[in-house]
Amino acid sequence: MSNCSCYSAFLSFAGVSCNSVEKKIYVHLNYTVSCVRLLNATHQIGCQSSLSGNVGVLHVLESEENLDWVLHSGPNPPYMVILESPLFTRSVMMKLKNGSGRVAGVAVVAPNTNPAEGFSPHTTCPNENTGVYSETYEPTMANCNMTVWNPLGNGLSYEEFDFPIFSLKDDNDTQVIRQCYLDHNRAGNGSTPQYPLCAMQLYSHMSAVTDTATCMRRNAINFSLNPEMVCDPLGDQNVWASTRPLNNTAKGHKMWESVVIAAARLDSRSFFFDIAPGAQSGVSGFVTLLAAAHALRNATQEAQPNRTILYTFFQGETFDYIGSSRMVYDMENKQFVVDLDNVHSVLEIGQVGLRADSKLWLHTDPVSRRNESVNKEVEDLIGNLRSAATGLNVTVDVPGFSQPLPPSSFQRFLRARPIPGVVLEDHQSAYTNKFYESMYDNAENLNVSYPPNLTPEEQLEYITDTARVATMVARALYRQAGGEESQLSSIKADPQIVTKMLYSFLVRSNNSWFQQLGNVISFLTGFVCVVHHDFCCLQLVLNRNCTIRIFACSTHFPPPCDSSHLVPQMYNYMWVQGAAPPNSTEREGYCVRSTARLSKALSPAFDLEQYTSKNFSTWTESRWKFIKGRIFLVASHELEMLTLGVGVGVLLSSLLVTYIISSKADILFSSGREPTNATY
């Protein structure tokens, strides 16, 4: 601790700076991103450190054979292993996991460019237990028996480690760590390294343990002396909007309402906490759908199609379909504006960012298509998509063989009833995404790049995508909703909007376009909010988890929002910060009216308190106190014991000396010759 804080003010007058002892010993890590513990009905996954942090001697791993030093031959266990990214593989991590006490922790150095061969810490068969294919619904297609969707998946995200795993950026701070290792810890020419050695301490103690039922029970106990929350259910909010306003206060079945659901997924994840760029797995899909909604804003106002289009953006799909299972549950229980009888068909936009040869694939469910009427509707939808793609330099096709649906939110709708639907993807069979649900699924994965020497504002405007897919989706949705052919040619997605959205979600969210909506705090994913923008389509509302709003259409109101003729059950009204006009610095805000709303995306298992449910997602995330790390030099154990021994010896000897002196005090401290009877 700083033991000269009292003197610092005094000394600073004298021109002397104050040096705290702690700063001389420890170098704190600035960028601390670690993996955290997640629990579900049966397991716990992720990492855990001890309460006082895990301390280990640094070792930069050179190759997989070098693991022998860490696991068997190194003389100073436990070791804190620094891994460069080519070594962050399943085999290395599994060997470290079985290190039985010699491994104190792992720090992975994240490279600045993506690895060439691909890396996906997710499982090979995402969400296999909560989709539609199961023992009762076509067991030949369950558990990826027919198609392995994520062949590069190594399942690391779903393993349990009892040491902390942190991620380091490849920058100057990491170079300091490498230099410390080279200076002190390097065993040269077969000699063992001498103390003092460079060590690192990582703190990421997680409070929850065992499984969701245990941690929810411990949350609820208020008999204990210090009640503490140990975990939180994963969940946030879905965003939905409709082309025609729906009465939000009247939940349940709406007569004469036939709805086409256009769905996309918002979230993604990676091995580490709060890093989830999800460019191909999430952003490509919802940006396309948002651009399509923007393209349809005029056509659905002026020449309204028969059916309403319901744009839905689901949150939490990575973790066993939290958002879509909740929406289907609400629809079944009359808690949503429409119910499943109102749903005519579903079009889901999956991963559409990596189109080889501009080819897109339409996936359907072969089991529900065995029914003639469902099959006819699916064929109609496929026909609409094909005809919408003509003239746009985009080809769509069906996979051509009987294949189950890829993991998608549409599967949860199929679990409830056989609805006709299509999932739009850019892969015919297995994923083309080599970095599914990893920290490398970023702008580089989507080939979104900018010429050098552009300012952030210029990068915002630089067109990186031609928005053809969004135009195709918009036209197909319009036809599917029963719109007229004549209007189709006027429906065009704006590449400017698409490019701004891609920049804002993948590169930098704190830009002028987003700032027109409101205070931009931070986004960039995880199962956290995403920001949408465009006065006609998106709005950022900030609360603890930052939520999104999408406006399907908007009309300006003069501020203040005149509340006399507001119709809150049909529309949603919101204040937008707006831009500053050219010759002033004050932003001109205004009210926007839209049909976009939020709906809760919490797994029904938590409302029903079925924490061991097999039907719904039961994922929770543990809480923790702090996550930090620091490096310092450690002395040998013998030196520490010697110092302690010397201290104890000094204490005992001083007690002994004090006792001896006090018992002989009258001899030692005679104050001269005292006359016994002092009479004068």
Binding site: Q48, L51, H205, M206, S207, A208, V209, T210, T214, R217, R218, I221, F223, S224, L225, N226, E228, V230, S622
Partner: protein
């Protein structure tokens, strides 16, 4: 309080109070009784009340041993098996450790 300065009747009454108090689930009173009155009961030369004090000290020691045995057994069992008892273990605990089962 210095026992030297008390008359013997008061020593006896004090010992009896501690002995009776220990029956209210207060084994610590018995421990104090044993430690405090040990010298009075067994080391000092005999006086009239010493026999009574001796019985009280002996019985306090017996009760103390019983309590120690029971508590040690229960604490050992609880610390060992709390994690396996799951729900019951959590409901019996005042403080549940974080991060370990």
């Amino acid at each position: 309080m210095n026992l030297e300065r008390l008359p013997n009747e008061e020593k006896l009454s004090l010992c009896r109070k501690y002995y009776l108090g220990g029956f209210a689930f207060l084994p610590f009173l018995w421990l104090v009784n044993v430690v405090w009155f040990f010298r009075e009961a067994f080391v000092k030369p005999a006086y009239t009340e010493q026999l009574q004090i001796k019985t009280y000290v002996k019985r306090s020691a017996l009760g103390l041993l019983l309590w120690v045995a029971v508590l040690t057994t229960w604490i050992t069992i609880f610390q060992h098996f709390r994690a396996e008892w799951g729900e019951v273990g959590d409901y019996l605990s005042f403080t549940i450790p974080l991060g370990i089962p």
